[in-house]
Symmetry: C2
């Protein structure tokens, strides 16, 4: 490996991250029913892992997407009965997003469908290496998060 400037190193890293993200996205989406996207699943996952009852705007910020994109994702999820949008008693302008029982079941089934894929990868790749890289990605994520423009 020839000498590389730090800038090149980061650039190469982000390039590789982009490719891995794309490949893993395809892997995950293959396990979702028909036309569902990873974005939609990720929202459901967030509502369970983190918290539901927050506003659409909170979710948009959590995922770093425009609020119009989140409106659309939530509309799709609501149309399928996977989330419920309720008025926000504390603020007449906004709503609260709740996951439904169907939503929980959907997420559970999707997660279960992905386990074999993860296991297949784990069978060929040392989880210790991944575990070692995780905090690097996590720290970098937080740095990028702090650097972003506030919206």
């Amino acid at each position: 490996m020839p000498d590389r400037t730090p800038e090149d190193t980061f650039f190469a890293f982000f390039t590789e991250v982009g490719i891995v993200a794309q490949l893993s996205r395809a892997l995950f989406e293959a396990r979702l029913p028909d036309g569902f996207t990873l974005s939609q699943f990720t929202v459901l996952n967030h509502l369970i892992r983190v918290k539901d009852g927050r506003t659409p705007l909170d979710l948009a910020r959590a995922f770093q997407v425009p609020k119009t994109s989140m409106t659309h994702s939530l509309a799709v999820l609501e149309r399928h009965g996977l989330v419920r949008l309720a008025p926000n008693a504390r603020d007449g302008r906004s709503k609260c997003v709740w996951i439904t029982e169907d939503g929980r079941a959907f997420r559970q089934a999707a997660m279960a469908g992905m386990v074999p894929d993860m296991a297949a990868i784990a069978a060929q790749f040392a989880a210790e290496r991944i575990a070692g890289a995780l905090p690097i990605l996590s720290d970098l994520r937080h740095l990028l998060d702090r650097m972003r423009d506030p919206d």
Copy 2:
């Protein structure tokens, strides 16, 4: 950190990769002229870093995107005069994609615009950590690549 199964480790890793990819995508796209996407820049970058003169299908495979998506990206790049599509003398069905001088200049300018961002990150994050994680991502990428369905 509680005990985690290898499956969970990989799942968490892919989640983090997805977030970092999204944040860095936003960072890069902010440095591209008006309506250009990272996909388009990445194609230009590939034509220079790897090789031009290959077919659209070759590029689609390299980026793991459907060939129809690549057709669209190339059409946009061609419309802006950044690539040139020529008939393939060896196969009447296909074409060859060449980057133009304008395309090289465009890529060069975009790269230059991104260097300060990379430097700003490098100032707050040890490049050694990134360099250490790079081969892990790279190996994982190749594994995912081998696991994908051939199309």
